[in-house]
Amino acid sequence: MVSDRRRDFKLDLWGIVLLVPLLISPFVTKDVLISSLTYQISIGVAATMGIYVMLRMGLLSFSVPSFMTIGGYAAAISATAGWTDIFFLTAISFVAPALVAAPLGAIVLRLKGIYFIFITFIFNEILQILLFETPDLTGGANGIPGVPPATLFGHELAAQPQLVAVTAALAIVAALITFVVTHRFRAEFTSIEENETLAESLGVALWKYRTIGFIASAGVSGLAGFALVNMLSTAHPSLFASWSVNSYIAYAFVGGRGTLLGVAVGSALLIAVTNYFSAFANLSAGLFGVLLIVVMMLAPSGIVGSFVKLADYIRSRSVTRSAPSIKEKQNEFG
């Protein structure tokens, strides 16, 4: 999919618009399946935003579960200690991972892309170990059960529809933050992805923008972690296992890695599919594997990207057919 900033802007907006039904659905239906799908998709979207931000720079970040862990546990510890205001929890679940991302990024983002990927991969293993080794803070292997729900102006948002709505709201906040960051720095991010040397020769400080992206990725992943903890009222190491990142990567690539719309579509579609085939839940990893391979080999732009390509192709065919070519005009006038 050729990058086109005006078209991508519109597609990104559509991606955010598509998330609004998630916020509305808990108030119009009590259906258990829809409720479950809504919160699963919300969490998936928020986490995949973390992947998406780094992909805009051509980097694959395996750090999303790590920052979900930090954000989720920060929220759980705060809520358990009595600070349940939803704005506070949102802020801390964003800021805590961002604060970790800054120094980590300073070290790791100077390395070649591939070492960055390796380190982010290992980082999650380390965090899991840290969780187990610090039971006083994190509850160790038991995690933190019974996390109080968030409160809005003093009212506990404890009812099921409210919990789901909070999750959806967090997804939308994550999407909006991603939108702002990726558009404010769109030229820099895509230049870094496409041609680092040229970008540098024109004055782009690679390291600065990579860090901005990394911090944003960490923050929105933290929001996803908070969403998960709030929904389940528990913080537990198993929620943030390393392999969960494979799902988010699948959502991003199958949906289309070039736009927020792709993230929304990929998450919604794949989560719906796994739920539909819930009897084969343990096969979902294999299914995602197959999809990932199929997409990479046959449709690298993902679903949304392929549609865009198709639309471009159709448009260019109709233009060449309706407008006379230069040669035709020349022939007319001898």
Binding site: S191, E194, S201, G203, A205
Partner: protein, 255 residues
Amino acid sequence: MNSVDRAGPASAKNASGDALRVDGIAKRFGGLRVFDPISFELAEDEILGVIGPNGAGKTTLINVMCGMIEPSAGRVHLGQRNITGLPFHSVSQLGVVRSFQQTNTFSKVSVEENLFRAKRFCSKRSGPDLGLDDLLHDFELAGHLDEPSDKLPYGLQKMLGLIMVLATRPRFILMDEPAAGLERRERIRVDRFIEHARKVLRCGILIVEHDMDLVKRLCPTIVVLESGRLLAKGPPAEVLARPDVINAYLGDSAD
């Protein structure tokens, strides 16, 4: 039209007085010595040509001057400021910008997007209009603004690269074989570009080149790099007549 006359006195400095100076810079890669200590200076509004047989270290020289690699010895100064060892992007932000020998654009996006980015990335300096539209028109790029840059013919991609450099408002342009790959009739565009750049920004220009006609046309002063040494410096007519310079080129086709 003798462009050499218009170049002005070789060491003139304008109001800001800053020159780009290399001071005893040398470069080795492990055991391989690329060039020995070299010193010269490029003033604003001056044009300096760098010629020499292949493998003499000319591209490495540009790489060192613009900060892509660090010299093994010596320093690079921009005016009073020591810019040796500064990261590549910082040197560009300070106004020392290079062009590339091969075409180098953001290949998958349009010409218009390429220019948009170039203007945006070095937006620290502002000033009067650069007249890029005139150049786009002269170089036959104006009709291709929406095309992806990698679909353009080679020559147009190279000229686009040069216009992007100009869009960053450089104070010094380091041109790495601007004529390489251009057809004979396209090479006059390099002249046009340099004339325009000096008119709107009074840039100092360093040209590494193999095309001797172009060098003789445009450069009032040239230096010759041979086996990593600065062999000669002076006006082209004089330097190119020297026996040691001719010897250095024997066996090397000078276009």
